[in-house]
Every structure is written in C-alpha cells, then in structure tokens.
C-alpha cells in the first residue's frame, strides 16, 4: 500500500507503522515471512557503464501481536507486539567505503540489518489509540591490541562487543469519523556504528592508534502523518466476507540533515586532516505516499485482498561535485500485493507483495578541487531496487 502505515497498519506491522493500532488486534496472531531484495544500482561515466555489485538480500520476517486479556476497565484495550526482521545471512552488514568509491549510503545499507521492534498499543477511547515502542539495531565497538608475547611471537588481545542501539517509537491514531482515521507516528534516530581501535606495539615501528570506525547503518528521525478512508463503517480491517475499499495517503518527514556520513577519522589525533573529506551535507526530506486496498469476498469465511500504492522518495544527498561519490537519486516506489484472509472460523492469512524502486538518472558533475584530471569523472546515478515477499499468519 505504497508503504503507508501510520493510519492503515494492521497486525504486527503496526509495531513499526503505528503501535497504537496494535490495539485493534483482538486475537493472538503470529506471522512468518520471507522477502528478497535485488539492487541494480548504476554508476555510469563517459568511459564506462557500471552496475554496482550487491548481494541479493533475503530477509526473514517474524511478528506477533498479542492482545493482553486484562479485565475491568482495561478489557479489550491493550495489545503487545514484537517483530523481527532478520537478513538470512547477516545480522548487520557494515560497508564503510572510501568516499571516492561509488556507493549508495542511503538505500544500500537499509536492507542489510536486523531490526527488532517491540511495542504496545492502547485504545484510550473508542476513537483514540496511543502506542509506544522501540526499534533496536546492532552496533559494534571493540579494541585490538597487537603485540609480541613472552616468546617473541605476535599475539593479540581482543575485546569486541556488540551493543544495541535503540530508538523510540510513539504514535497516536484518531478515528475522526466512522470511515476516516488519522495517524501520526514518530520514530527516533537509529545509528549502527562500527568502531574498532587497533593498537600495535613492539613491532619495531611506532604506529598510531587506528580508529577504524564509521556509521554502517543510519536511520534518521522520522515523522509520519497519514489519513485513511474506508468504504466500510468501522475503522478496523476490512471484513473477510464483504466488499470494501480502503485508501490511505500521507507524508513522511525524515531528518537526514543530522546524518554525519559514513566515514570517521582514522587518526583521531590529527584533527586537521579528519576524514580527508568535507561533510556529507545531507538535507531533510518529505516523502508523499498513497495506497489502496480492495477486498473481495471469496466465500462466507474468506476474502481476497488486492493492494497497490506509490511513494516518492526525494534524495537527501546533494550532487557529488567533488571527489566523493556518495550517490543517490530521487526514487519512485511502486508497490502491489495480493492476500487471502479468513475470518475467525478460518484464522489464517496469506499475503504476497512486491515493490519496484526506480531511481531517477542523476548526473553528478565534478566541479570542485580534489580531482586531478581524469581521476574522478562525472557520474550518473540511478537504477532499480526490486523487493518481493510472502508472509503467512495464523490467529489463535
């Protein structure tokens, strides 16, 4: 549905989209799924056309929505949710490349990290939902001391830690009308940093401490505002055995201006040199998006779902006019999906989805210093990202 969610998320997906809407889940639900993303991102120059090598990324989805069976005043009001998005091969992949290497720091890392989300949603009144949760990301810090041991052989002491970075999620949804819902969701900044300090002693040459560090994953502060209309009275999910349509649209603000870029200085003591490159100078973006879902009854207990949507993702990165090649382009995202859902007597759901991200061709003309003749030619960024997936859920 065009990656809309602040007013339209259902089930465990609401943990991320709008945890307040978890409170609409009144039966325990478990969802498993898998998705595959393929990148075909280009860096074309006058001399050569290049498609950057990127692994196909397979991702496992696991999510649960668990209504808490409180009694009294809290009856049918509170639901807990947990979700894992786990790349099959990696928990986190951190590629921090030299700035002059062709790279897509905005889109490439985002599918290469585990995301753990937990949230709780509460129905405060019949029309107001509040939610809170967090998202977690792995980061690596450590130190390696290389030196000679008592026998003159080279040895090392290693202290490498994986730590968790957390970002809060808070949301509110309001049913302004039996067919209209408004949603507002805030998600905090999430930084997955790789930082390894390497010290080498007794090797016969005085080496500085190497600060091998950088930001492997970065998710900026986000604020999503969305409205959703339903052709069926009652703002919950479409009934399985009735025709119905839901339309959602909204804006997503991302505070990319706080993104410091992936690189950090190698020798911290040399502040004059730093990373050897200017700041990345990213700017904030606002992404409009729209989605539609249409329900068709298949029988008295099951229905068919047809979904589609579109999102425009403006690039936060300026043209790369120096020797750096932090490439990105404005993206057009077209989404579609199908689903089969049963009512409570057939408590299963099966969904498939697909996304096509088309990056506009964008010319990065090299104008500034740091480039000797021919060493950093003007380059065009663009390409596509395709994502397909399937999820299966059971309510119990």
């Amino acid at each position: 549905m065009g990656m809309t969610s602040a007013a339209s998320a259902e089930g465990y997906e609401a943990i991320y989209g709008n945890p307040g809407l978890l409170a609409e889940s009144r039966k325990k639900a478990l969802t498993l799924g898998v998705g595959i993303a393929r990148h075909a991102l280009i860096a074309n120059t006058d001399q050569a056309s290049l498609t950057l090598p990127t692994d196909e990324m397979k991702t496992i989805y696991i999510g649960a929505a668990l209504p808490i069976p409180f009694g009294g005043a809290l009856r049918d009001r509170v639901t807990f949710g947990v979700g894992f998005l786990n790349p099959v091969k990696f928990l986190v992949r951190g590629k921090i490349l030299y700035p002059e290497r062709y790279q897509y720091p905005v889109v490439a890392p985002r599918v290469q990290s585990i995301a753990v989300t937990m949230g709780i949603g509460a129905r405060i009144t019949d029309r107001i939902y509040l939610g809170a949760g967090f998202e977690a990301l792995a980061a690596v810090v450590g130190e390696i001391l290389i030196s000679l041991d008592a026998t003159g052989r080279i040895g090392s002491r290693t202290d490498d830690q994986v730590i968790a970075a957390y970002a809060p999620i808070a949301s509110v949804a309001v049913d302004a009308h039996p067919r209209w819902r408004l949603g507002l969701t805030y998600r905090g900044e999430l930084v997955g940093r790789f930082a390894l300090t390497i010290r080498a002693q007794d090797l016969g040459i005085p080496l500085p401490d190497f600060n091998v560090a950088g930001i492997a994953q970065y998710i900026p502060h986000q604020l999503a505002l969305e409205a959703r209309w339903s052709s069926v009275d009652g703002n919950g999910a479409l009934p399985a055995n009735r025709h119905g349509t839901r339309i959602a649209g909204g804006l997503l603000y991302r505070m990319w201006s706080r993104y410091p870029g992936p690189n950090e200085p190698t020798v911290l003591a040399n502040t004059d040199f730093g990373t050897g490159s200017p700041p990345i100078d990213a700017h904030d973006t606002i992404s409009p998006r729209v989605g539609v879902e249409h329900g068709i009854p298949l029988s008295a207990v099951a229905g068919f779902r047809l979904r589609g949507g579109y999102a425009l993702e403006p690039t936060p990165l300026p043209p790369q006019t120096g020797k750096e090649n932090f490439l990105d382009s404005t993206r057009h995202v077209v989404t579609g999906g199908l689903g089969v859902v049963g009512d409570d007597s057939l408590p299963f759901q099966l969904d498939v989805f697909a996304q096509l991200h088309v990056l506009q061709n964008r010319l990065h003309e090299k104008k500034e210093g740091g480039c000797s003749a021919g060493t950093c030619p003007s380059v065009t960024s663009g390409g596509t990202i395709t994502v397909v997936g399937i999820t299966a859920g059971v309510r119990f």
């Binding site: 951190g94 792995a138 390696i144 040895g155």
Partner: protein
C-alpha cells in the same frame, strides 16, 4: 485436519530449525523458579523459562504469560588466595508465552530474552599464557534471545523448537595514506571497512511425554554454538621519515573463537508425589571435547624495502605467528536435582518454596603447559521462594507472581602444577565461590 496442522507446524518448526542455548542461562539459569530448582526442569517448565530449558513445555502454558526480572552474579574466584575480580554478570530477563490452539491442536509461541546491562555480547581473547577463568570470565557476557514454537498433538506429548539471533564477526579493514614515522599522530590516513555480523543459528528441539498425571519425561537437544571474530587488516601507506618516502605494506589477520557452547543432550523427569510437591531430575551430556581455543591466532606480514640511508631502527620487524595450543577439554555429565513444595493460601493464592543442586565436573584438563584455562569442579546449591496471587484485581483475570532465588556455587580449590619449572606463570591454586541472585515477576492471564 489434526494431522495437517501437526505437519504444518512441525514443518514450520523444522524450517525455522534453530534453537537457543546460551552462556548466561547455561551457567546461571533462566527464570527464578527454574534456577531455584537447580535447573532440573526440562520435564517441568511450562513458564517463560521453557524457552531455554525445553520449548516443548510452552505448549502446556496455562495462559498468556509475561515475565520480567533481573539477575546478578557476585564472583569470589581466586588464584593463590587473591581475588581475580572476574567481571560480574548482570542483566534483565524478559519473556512471554502465548498459548492458544490452531484448530483442535494446542499451540504456543514463546520468546525468551536475557540482556546484559552493558552489551549484547562480547568477544574477548587474551594472550595464550594469561590465566583466565575460562568458564566465567567472558562466556556469560552475552545475550540470550530465542523465539520458539510448541504444540501438543496428543494429550501425552508436547514438542517444540526455536530460533536465536546471534552473530559472528568478520571484518576486512583497509588503511591507506601518508604515515609519518617520526610523529605518527600527524599521519594522514583513511580507512575502509567491510564488516559482517553473520547470523548464527543452532538447533534446539525438545519433547515432553506425560506418562501419567504425576509423571513426565523429557528429552532436549541443543546444537553447538560459537562466536567467531575474524579480522583481516591491510595497511598500505607511504612511510615518511628523514625526507624519504617509502611504500609500506602490512597484512595482519586475527582469528578467534569465543563463547563456545558445545552440543548438549538432556534427559529429565518430573514427578508429583502429591499435589503439593514436585521432584525433578535432569542429567545433561555436554560435548566439551569439541571446545575450540579462544586464543587469537595472529599473523602479520610486512613488505618494506628501505632505501639506502633509512635508519635500521625504523625498519619493522617480522614477528613469528601465534601457535595456538589445542585445549583438549573433556565431555562431562551434569546431574541436576530440584524440588518444589507448594502451600495453598486460599482464594487461589499460593506460596512455594524451592531448592536444587547440581554438580559440574571441570572439563578442563590439568594446565601443565603453556595455557592457563583456569577452572574447578562446581557444586551449585540453589533455593527460592515464590508467591502467586490469583484474581488480584478485576483488570488482571489470572495470576500475579513473584519468584526470588539465590544460587551458591562452590568451586573447591584445584592445584595446577606446571611440567616445567621455567614456566613463567608457575604453579597455582584456584577456587572460590559465586553467588547468583535474582527475581522474576510475571502476569499469567487465564
């Protein structure tokens, strides 16, 4: 229908196919009730702790359950009478069990989490000869997080399995630029990193058979697990000294294994001689013989051709690589006993008192040579109390429970005598005590 659901859920569990066991839970238990009963609960646990002890038990959960708690250890481990100040292990525990039914088949989903206060996990390796408490120094310093599925296809059988999230680290580092030999801090260097935290998954499957209303048997299998840290670094710089600029190319590789957990198989039984008393017994086989040395293997090579006039004192040496000595640990059997007495307090409230004991023989052979993996046999004595309050308020239709536990571990002193009088570490005695204290509180909705 029943067979289809059984097949579907079993297939689901097999596809997930990955279970969880972990350093902190293996060493200090998971959940106050189970820990207080000596960890002998493979045939007994049906609360959140079943996420670790036997996921099959989740299928017998009485209702949607949330638990949270805290665990803290206090080490008194000594060598030659001097405290070694082993890092204490402390962290929060959290978990849930969501039972239900898929058609006619009881089904449950569970999540268990132990999160250390300071980190998700740590990979640490020391010089080969440096003494370290191999079982307690770093191994418990990591996350335990598992998600499990369980079902009860017949009234006498429960089966379960799970999934864990942990990682090995592989990194390639590359450093280039201008290296100022006489003043390294003025070097103009840049770096590139290609690092992966690779998913590690290992199987855990459990089953529990109800022989009668009072007697249960269990079997659990846990696969092998290890955290690896493999780093290769390339230093490709221009070394500048005395007006000369010389290419210097160095490769360093480090490979280490940490937090190794061997395969385990558990057989257990649980017996209720009366409605107020439960007796548990487990025996665990642990494949410590497969243990891999945590010592980092380091290899460094340098290509440097100094021109005439370059000071010999600034020419880097070519050190020999590490030679890792195999640890040669031994398999062991760990017996565990647990008992729980329950006292009804009326209106569904109840009080429980618990106790347990286990014995872990050290799998580490006498350290007569160059390694110093310090360890000793371990007697673990545990005790705990629990209170369950039923239908306390209208908002909580079920139980509110609070369990506390304490575990005392006694490691009798073990003498290590070196084969060579020239060994730089020499002979030593090692032993001590460990206290582990914790609580778990929870809500069980019925």
């Amino acid at each position: 229908m029943r067979a289809k659901i059984f097949a579907a859920v079993t297939l689901c569990a097999l596809l997930l196919g990955r279970g969880a066991h972990a350093g902190p839970t293996e060493t200090f238990g998971y959940g106050s009730r189970s820990t207080a009963m000596g960890g002998a609960v493979s045939a007994d646990a049906s609360d959140v702790s079943a996420n670790y002890y036997n996921p099959a038990g989740l299928a017998a959960a009485k209702g949607l359950t949330f638990e949270a708690g805290y665990l803290r250890t206090i080490y008194g481990l000594k060598m030659n009478g001097r405290d070694n100040f082993v890092d204490p292990m402390r962290g929060i525990t959290f978990g849930l069990v969501a039972p239900g039914a898929v058609g006619p088949v009881p089904f449950a989903f569970g999540v268990g989490l132990h999160l250390p206060d300071d980190r998700v996990f740590r990979v640490r390796s020391l010089d080969q000869e440096q003494p370290r408490w191999e079982m307690y120094d770093n191994r418990p310093q990591r996350l335990f997080m598992s998600a499990n599925l369980a079902l009860k296809p017949f009234h006498w059988l429960e089966i379960g399995g799970g999934l864990v999230f942990l990682a090995a680290t592989r990194a390639r580092l590359d450093i280039t630029g201008q290296f100022q030999v006489s003043n390294p801090k003025e070097s103009e260097l840049r770096h590139e990193v290609d690092a992966d935290l690779t998913s590690i998954r290992y199987p855990q499957f459990g089953m529990r058979v109800h022989a009668s209303d009072k007697l249960r048997f269990a079997a659990v299998y846990r696969g092998e697990f290890q955290l690896t840290l493999d780093i290769s670094a390339r230093l490709d710089v221009q070394a500048n000294a005395l007006g000369l600029s010389v290419p210097l190319l160095t490769y360093i590789t480090t490979n280490s294994v940490n937090a190794f957990l061997p395969r385990q198989a558990v057989l257990g039984t649980s017996f209720d001689p009366t409605s107020a008393l439960t007796l548990d017994f487990d025996v665990t086989w642990i494949n410590w013989a497969a243990y891999k040395s945590p010592v980092t293997a380091v290899n460094a090579t340098t290509q440097f051709n100094p021109p005439e006039g370059f000071p010999p004192s600034l020419v880097p040496e070519k050190p020999a690589p590490t030679v890792v000595i195999p640890p040669k640990f031994r398999d062991r059997l760990v017996p565990r006993f647990g008992v729980e007495g329950r006292l009804p307090l009326g209106r569904g409230h109840a009080f429980a008192i618990r106790g347990g004991y286990f014995f872990e023989s050290s799998p580490i052979p006498p350290q007569t040579g160059g390694t110093n993996f310090v360890d000793a046999d371990r007697h673990g004595i545990s005790a705990g109390l629990g209170v369950r309050l039923h239908d306390l308020t209208a908002e909580i239709p079920g139980d509110v429970k609070l369990d506390v536990h304490a575990m005392y571990s006694y490691l009798p002193e073990r003498l290590t005598q070196k084969a060579s009088a020239a060994n730089p570490i020499g002979d030593y005695r090692a032993g001590g005590t460990i206290w582990s204290l914790g609580f778990t509180t929870g809500l069980v909705f019925r």
